[in-house]
Symmetry: D2
Subunit: 368 residues, 4 copies
């Protein structure tokens, strides 16, 4: 992965002659909504790459920023270009970048980490104390071009569709969660079938889980879960999760739960359905604090519970790369919509409707 | 540990001529209290050992049974002889017992497990689905004699005081909790300085933690924590746990927390004081469900949380054995009272007062 | 999994009326060969099961005993009934057996362990210091009936062919080796495509390896490797293992090697083809000591090397059970011959020819 | 460790006015020996620090380079300033260095890694495929000044002697080896009592091993092992390692071996003395390939063997930092000589004599 080259003169020239402004989706004010703006094309600073964006995924976080919820109000400093999931083609190399060349296609890690804190120095960059996030804290990829640290770029596997190359960041959340404990030969449930939950179903299967159960309350998403090849789905609006798991596992319970919903009952049910000694990995963000019967659900059962955020940098990317190159992980069923970036408001509407898996945006000037 | 011998004829004779009744502390009725009764001496069934009890520890669980709290009302079926922490001398071997001989001194695991459930079959006997506990579900060691499965016996290390041999069971809780994550070169806090917390301080030090901080609200227990060689103690009734930890760790936070109090705020503070990526191992049983700010305390920090119960069977015992034989773990400061078993009510009073570390009982006919 | 029942009167009667002698394949003398003998039907001692054997696998170890090699001369005490891989139906329950009933079909762990040594007491029964092996040290399963400890029995998954139920023991070797390190999303090579190597290919795929490469020198076995769905096979008599792995992994090397051949060059090549930091798990038994360039192949690369023997008792069985029940692991292509036990000499001939995968024997009175 | 500051104008001025040449110990020609030369003071390039060297340790590798052995002939390109273990004071900050300030005292990792290979990207920088080593491939610290990447610098713990601050690099080898497996409550042997072996004794004790046995053939080094508080020492020129370990462990064997000698018999004896299921971590470099009885020593025992090189970057440094700050690890007994750098030839002679532990050099202009 380390062809060490420098940009050809042609490439640099190409970059030099590019347009001076571009279209971008910008959170322009401390209020709901977002707007398409004409903004300057960024330049690749030292250690950075300038990418022409090819595809970008829309995430629940974008919805939070759009609706200007409490978390967004505390975190976002407008104006900022949104978008933290994307793939692009390198069009310019900043100073001191030696490991990439222009023309390469790269997917991007969204966490820009400090590399100096104890977490960063000990292989835990995903919980860096000084993280800045592309599309949240600094300008992101809902635009024609984006500048990113070269160290955040990962050469996209060539054998997968460009739409999938665009969503490796959220796939990485699923891989990080799934790989936080044993998978091989394990009975796994994924609670919550939003896009990351759907990815997690595919990941768990491709990574060797022997049974993958998915749960949600929405028939639309349960149908997608089936398309992602869940061995069984549970509509928790109609059935008891714990009872159904017991049936599906011959009374043995689950070896692991990947919690993707943030729903208190999903966490409680997930713990209840684990075999003693199992693990629950928790990525879904609850809306607010909630209580747990610690004794019955965690201590007496000897459970291990992992809080999961981001992606291991870059172990998770290596694992994703292997999974995707193998051809055993197919995310296309989870991508329900591919649409022009111009129609961002409509994409947000789709997310709000609940009738969407992953929505992928195609920037201005790119063809779907 | 594998001297495979059979009882000498002398030993069997000795057992045969023993007394037919004995004194025991019995939970005789579904009501508060316990009583000293004259009961039949048990016999060693197939695969069992009959022990002459030499020392027995009093535990918080005994207090619960004594006061007849809700948990006890649901679990205990009187009459039952109490006592699940003890050391004894083997006086009789049941059929098919080949790995012990009479005269040996053994400490006992209190969990009698089924050996057939998935937990038992995969090295997780501590969370066996069919556990019976000595002194809770079957007759225990607050008596002159007790019958136990030979597989629950562990030859007591010879170099440690008999009082310590009597409390290897709760020491095992501390070791299991401490050894659930990294200790070597780690900054560890023990929250809650009851007997198991006090043991955990000693264990963490002997097992290589580079900093051991202890917290509690009671000056009496904090003083014992100092005697167990905690590097620092925090009186959380007077100081902020999180602030003090920050000072004591140069702002880096803790690598691990061993939660021994069951107090909601201790759990929350423990999580807050961990470095990102740290672990909290939870042995203390909360009185009732309580809420947590999952996002801030667990997910964003990438924490691993372990529910801990019992002792790994018998890995924890092997680890204990090594620690105790090394001479690097001294539990004597945590044993504040050694008294005749006859004075059980007084021992219970001591526990209720809070002015006791571990209380060890000496059965009838034994000398302190 | 532990329906606790006792044998019905009918079952016990059935056992009581069974034949008094049976046919068995016996190593009768300290010399090459083995013979079919009429021997007494064993009885189920305390804690044992008597099984009517339904299928039994032939193993390379049987070949060693047959040819009476040096290892056999030091280990085997004739007469002994051979056969350590088998499935049977329970026809009699020994005293104190409560977790099985007659009529159940069970596959068997071949290691009878002491349960008292440090290894046994700490979850490492597979390296018990006092192991006795069925069909090696005590009478085994190349017979109409065999008596086994109930704790060595594992209910056979019902959804798999009886021939596969008969070879869970060697499958367990493959699972133990594969599961000794990471598999999910990993690039794995299996060096040596005898039966256990073939199983390991299937296991690695079902357990989530993203690339499975197999190597051998025999076209017959490489063809079986392809049928087990190896992603690529390398004929090391014609190609450089290291070069081909480099091509197949885009220069990245392997994450893990499962060494099944006992061949010195296979071990050296396996180490050379690993990425730095990879693991090699070593099950194949070299014929004699051989040398290694420790610096270049192990130390400078930061490799982890595992010596593997037997099966984790019974974690490996639980993992096998999950894999087999999932339907994602199909071992049938590796079973090349199913033949009457009567034709044992012919089976040995097949093993010697090298033109066989796993050979399964059908006892007298059973139908293939 | 994260005080983010920039150099004061004063500091930069101080650097600017420093001397233009300095003394250094240079491997000047492809032949045995080394010489003191007057060379230009280096400058801190982008991302680098210029250090005034305060202390530097002499390593066996320096001896190899000095005697110009075969490894050196293949690796070293004269002229190069030697020295890869040192502590210095920051006197100049290169461009883009923000996390340090002048005047800080830092110890240094000697491996300069590429940060782009798979090893580097997945937290295994210690086995980077493109490693360059200070004092081997690029100019090192046997000089008045040395330039190092800022990312290789670690603030020296302030509570330890400056001589110890100078040898954190080889201490890191010991910590990496020791921490490659379990230590807490374990029975550990260190085979080979050169400087890193001596450090490993101290590390194993401070990190919670319950028994630390050291072996060597030289009474001088065994005496140092005792001073480092080994619980027992074995002179393998006079006693059987395996027999003595058996005695010292009550027949149980070792949980782990830290192999520091590179001696074939030490590796074989280490494996033989392990309990089944134990681990051996191998840092000592054998002079040439040698053979092993793989079956008896590794496979049948279920051993895990680790090849160890360098230090985990920077987890090992974090662990070292914790150990040293705790005050529980005292390396002074292992430092037998502190002498002026000017007397480098004499230091080499000491190493050759075998009558030295760690030798620390004091650069020109520094006081011992």
């Amino acid at each position: 992965m380390n062809a060490i080259t420098t940009a050809t003169p042609e490439a640099r020239t190409a970059a030099a002659t590019r347009a001076r402004t571009m279209k971008a989706i910008v959170k322009g004010a401390a209020a709901p909504g977002a707007e398409i703006r004409e903004v300057p094309v960024p330049t690749a600073g030292p250690g950075q790459l300038l990418l022409r964006v090819l595809r970008a995924g829309v995430c629940g976080t974008d919805l939070h920023i759009y609706t200007w919820d409490r978390w967004s109000q505390g975190r976002i400093k407008p104006p900022v270009t949104l978008g933290h999931e994307f793939v692009g083609e390198i069009v310019e190399l900043g100073a001191n970048v030696t490991e990439f060349k222009t023309g390469e296609r790269v997917s991007c890690e969204s966490h820009i980490v400090c590399e100096h804190c104890i977490a960063c120095r000990t292989g835990n960059g995903h919980v860096c104390e000084n993280t800045k996030i592309l599309g949240v804290d600094v300008n992101g990829g809902f635009a024609e071009y984006v500048a990113v640290p070269a160290s955040n770029a990962w050469r996209s596997p060539a054998n997968i569709p460009i739409d999938v190359q665009g969503i490796m960041e959220p796939l990485g959340n699923a891989v990080h969660t799934a790989f936080a404990g044993d998978l091989s030969g394990c009975r796994i449930a994924v609670t919550g079938c939003g896009p990351i939950g759907l990815f997690a179903i595919g990941v768990a299967r491709a990574a060797g889980a022997s049974l993958v159960i998915a749960s949600d309350v929405a028939p639309y998403r349960l149908d997608l879960a089936r398309k992602m090849q869940a061995d069984a789905v549970i509509d928790v609006s109609k059935e008891s999760f714990v009872d159904r798991v017991r049936e599906l596992t011959d009374g043995r319970g689950l070896d692991g739960v990947l919690e993707m919903s943030g729903n208190p009952q999903a966490l409680r049910d997930g713990l209840a359905a684990l075999r003693n000694g199992g693990r629950l990995s928790l990525l879904g963000l609850p809306k607010e604090p909630f209580d747990l019967d610690w004794n019955r659900l965690l201590i007496f059962k000897g459970i291990t519970l992992h809080g999961i955020i981001g992606r291991r940098m870059y172990q998770t990317w290596y694992q994703m790369d292997n999974l995707l190159r193998s051809g055993r992980l197919d995310l296309k069923p989870a991508i329900t919509h591919v649409m022009p970036m111009e129609r961002f408001d409509e994409a947000i509407g789709l997310l709000q409707s609940g009738n969407a898996g992953k929505v992928v945006l195609v920037p201005w000037g790119q063809e779907a």
